[in-house]
Symmetry: D2
Subunit: 327 residues, 4 copies
Amino acid sequence: MPVPAPNLYPDFNTIRLSHVCLNVKDLAASRTFYTEIIGLQITDESESHVYLRAMEERGHHCIILQKSDQPGTVEVMGFKTFDEADLDRAEAYFKGKGRPTSWVERPFQGRTLLTSDNMGIPLEFYHKMDRLAPIHQKYALYRGVKPLRIDHFNCFSHDVDASVDFYSDFGFRVTEYTEDDDSKKLWAAWMHRKGGVHDMAFTNGTGPRMHHVAFWVPTPLNIIDLLDLMATTGYVDNIERGPGRHGISNAFFLYVLDPDGHRIEIYCSDYQTVDPDLEPIKWDLQDPQRQTLWGAAAPESWFKHGTPFVGVDQKVSEIKASPIIAP
Amino acid sequence: MPVPAPNLYPDFNTIRLSHVCLNVKDLAASRTFYTEIIGLQITDESESHVYLRAMEERGHHCIILQKSDQPGTVEVMGFKTFDEADLDRAEAYFKGKGRPTSWVERPFQGRTLLTSDNMGIPLEFYHKMDRLAPIHQKYALYRGVKPLRIDHFNCFSHDVDASVDFYSDFGFRVTEYTEDDDSKKLWAAWMHRKGGVHDMAFTNGTGPRMHHVAFWVPTPLNIIDLLDLMATTGYVDNIERGPGRHGISNAFFLYVLDPDGHRIEIYCSDYQTVDPDLEPIKWDLQDPQRQTLWGAAAPESWFKHGTPFVGVDQKVSEIKASPIIAP
Amino acid sequence: MPVPAPNLYPDFNTIRLSHVCLNVKDLAASRTFYTEIIGLQITDESESHVYLRAMEERGHHCIILQKSDQPGTVEVMGFKTFDEADLDRAEAYFKGKGRPTSWVERPFQGRTLLTSDNMGIPLEFYHKMDRLAPIHQKYALYRGVKPLRIDHFNCFSHDVDASVDFYSDFGFRVTEYTEDDDSKKLWAAWMHRKGGVHDMAFTNGTGPRMHHVAFWVPTPLNIIDLLDLMATTGYVDNIERGPGRHGISNAFFLYVLDPDGHRIEIYCSDYQTVDPDLEPIKWDLQDPQRQTLWGAAAPESWFKHGTPFVGVDQKVSEIKASPIIAP
Amino acid sequence: MPVPAPNLYPDFNTIRLSHVCLNVKDLAASRTFYTEIIGLQITDESESHVYLRAMEERGHHCIILQKSDQPGTVEVMGFKTFDEADLDRAEAYFKGKGRPTSWVERPFQGRTLLTSDNMGIPLEFYHKMDRLAPIHQKYALYRGVKPLRIDHFNCFSHDVDASVDFYSDFGFRVTEYTEDDDSKKLWAAWMHRKGGVHDMAFTNGTGPRMHHVAFWVPTPLNIIDLLDLMATTGYVDNIERGPGRHGISNAFFLYVLDPDGHRIEIYCSDYQTVDPDLEPIKWDLQDPQRQTLWGAAAPESWFKHGTPFVGVDQKVSEIKASPIIAP
């Protein structure tokens, strides 16, 4: 069996990815990038932090920019649970898996459980976050690419099978995956909780590192607007790959790099995956349309560059594959 | 309290709306409309029935066209449950509510429970439906408005409060609603299970009748393509309202009528509602932007016309409101 | 013959419409509307005037807002000639037609001939206007509906045949027209110089009055953005008609009113008309798709409201037609 | 002076590019490509020829596919003149330039003058072509990328200065150009007659060869539709470059190859150039955004591959430039 059967009755109910805290060097420069270019809205800021939300979000933040002496690293990835009791069940679950757990104070969030996954990726779970008034119809506020919501995380893992097993066990369901026919090991997998193609994806490579965090936008024209804007405001070198359509997920995509090298995907054209009996779609590692339906190759940086999790050791993957076709 | 608090732990788990069976006069004419104009794909057909799916769906059908001597009526609305056991729990639940229940044979579906809601709307629940291979990337098949998936039902109810109570009790959650300030009664409400603005909505009026069934499409340009196509292929009189943007739901919409008068909404620009603590948005019945953000009034037919459920008696609503501002 | 044969060898060469001077009450309010909402760029401003250009234009101005004690009137419509000698030939031509002519000083323009058409519409012709550096690729400047260029004027005329004859004689070519089958008189006509559907159009009605001035934008999505912006920034009542597609010209359109009631059309989907042997397309006054391909009727205001030319007497048309089908 | 001043009063009036005749190996395969994928409409066909027009064109043909034993070559490029007398003036003009001239019979065209440019590119001029009824509003006919009209030719020239001089002399006007700062020679130039960025462009390289013929489509989404269609119908290897935006011309572009290797550009986002005093925009050969505003490099094939003119000898350019930055 190429991917584990989904665990439809996990110990606790994670409803979606929620936010990520990115360590940055120059808070002002990052603030400009995420507001003027990406178009996120500031919900709070201090000398050390900027909190941002996307246009349809009513939770307080989806991106936290944190001034750091380790810029270009990721502090933590956040997930929202269905209720408060899920947090206690999650604590028991991760302890049972031998993962460290602690209850941490997070501004604008209720009780928050800090733990980490099998590879060491720092994860935090909460149920309550400050709720804000809707702004999705305040059209004068829209800027940049008009981001509607955070959509997913994608991380390098040195053992994608092990990562997929770990997340499957607490209810993440695989929607699409790539298998290496030689080793019969997973090359990459896309897993969801909220009913889209993914909340979390893993790609083979030295890991754990964040490959990217993605935002959902309404149409490809918004992505074209972003390209035009970046190309003529000094950010042309921050455009890494795209626009294009992935075979996997069918997403119309663009990848850009923020001032610290954190990769941002801008994304539309998702599909609905709420059916528990949805069959994962298998892709062949030798099929170049898997990456780009239209055939254009991704640049080498896209396969190699990622941003580390602060304080987390990395391991090299044992699977070798041609950089031309991977991942 | 204007709308009931959501029941986050219902007796059984309905994951989404699934399909509707429409009674039609001329199967060939309806087949042409739904394939050539709307762009659905035929998955099975006989002398009496045509089964159709939208482009990203892997379940066998979302629309069943049924040749009937009572054309212009709706046979049944279908919903999918999370698992098989939910069907038995659903049976017990509806019996407990005093609703009729029976197990029915439906082609291409597994065990199917037929029941009805408090107003008499025929509902069927199943867990298993034949699964088909993906076609969302077979771009040569796309026609018409490029419908990706069935999105929601909308029904007239003569007592929206009672309808909302009934569906809330088995787990539907209100996302937006309109209240009549005079009577303090609900005028309309949008309720979901799958994480979008709605799977089912109710609007004040003589009911129960189906107001419309909606399909989700990628962008407003697909809707403009549909308008151009209908306007120049003999269907201009089937265009009823739009294009426009609803204040409620923020949807970019178009309403068209099929050859039997069943109303179809073509829709994009939904938002995500998986948070169980999502606050419903209240709209004022006196606010015309509620209906059309851009200010244009809906035609009278839109407030008055609906298609009955076959064999179900209707009642007149006691709430009176100016047709200009309602619903 | 329904429309006059084009005069392919006119006395002087008008290359395109160029600009219009609008009299306004509150210069600040108009400035906000044309910059923040429509998205034009200011090229010069004083206490009495604001000069604006659209994003791909390199001529100094396409709209002049002029503070006036006769707000809601039009001062003059401007056209550009192929060369300087055309101005002298134009002077002789209009004198020969018995029209008043004078040479006027206009800021940012070279030699400018002021005259008027057979109905009294004030027209000015110039060859040289200050040329500005391109900004069409300065994407950070784009706002509002992202207007690329002024596209055309449309005026009420009490005798469309006479207006069409007058403009045909100096080289305007009819692309589409509507004839009243009873009287065999023209109801409306679209005439061009620059190779699109029109630089100037005439519609039957009390005239002369300006019906609208139009701007060309890249896609229908820009028009949807404008609707969303106007609807949520206090301008919802300034939205008059649309979005829709005209049968005539095939334009995707929106009509809005500026703070003084000057009507602005936002427009895309033109076609190329440089062929001198292009056959005009005739429309039937009884065909409602002529106005709106998709069937929706225009509001009554659209048939009746226009803005007068300052100091110019108006006459009532003798053709009567049902307001439902006209113009 | 980097580019010649435009000749505003040429000996004869060419109004626009009109059509190209492409030699192909397998007429059926080419017919499928141009109708099903590109979406052109057949206006006539025989065992040896297929005539096609785009959706808004009323002239009989813009592409002629000609079965040939020299497939992958170009037979002739066609242009339309303002009137019949222009043809005689053109004959005298080209004779005066020492070019061969002859009057040829062309189906569906009136009197047709065959000649060639200074590099040997076969050119034909006509005034009359069979006029067809409009189909631009027959939306059921639209397929593929929904091409509206032929837009321009682009050819390799071994001496761009000489080519530009030649076309300038009969009235083509340069809109944008790239100069090699070392040699002070032109690297590339875009020249128009019809009021857009170009009817004909030249690029440095072994020539003469056709680099591409371009079609204008309404929006970038049509180009994305084409990519999806080609990628999933066996044409993925025919996608050569894009989508992207050129710095030069600001065009949103895609380049694809037909079954014989003729390059087709699909294009939108042009701007208007009817002003005779429009200043050409100069680009630096070292500026990579010239080619792709968003920074992505073009593939090597794009710089090297072109299709020869049948029977015309080629010469190698003397200008050397890094393939990374050229053209």
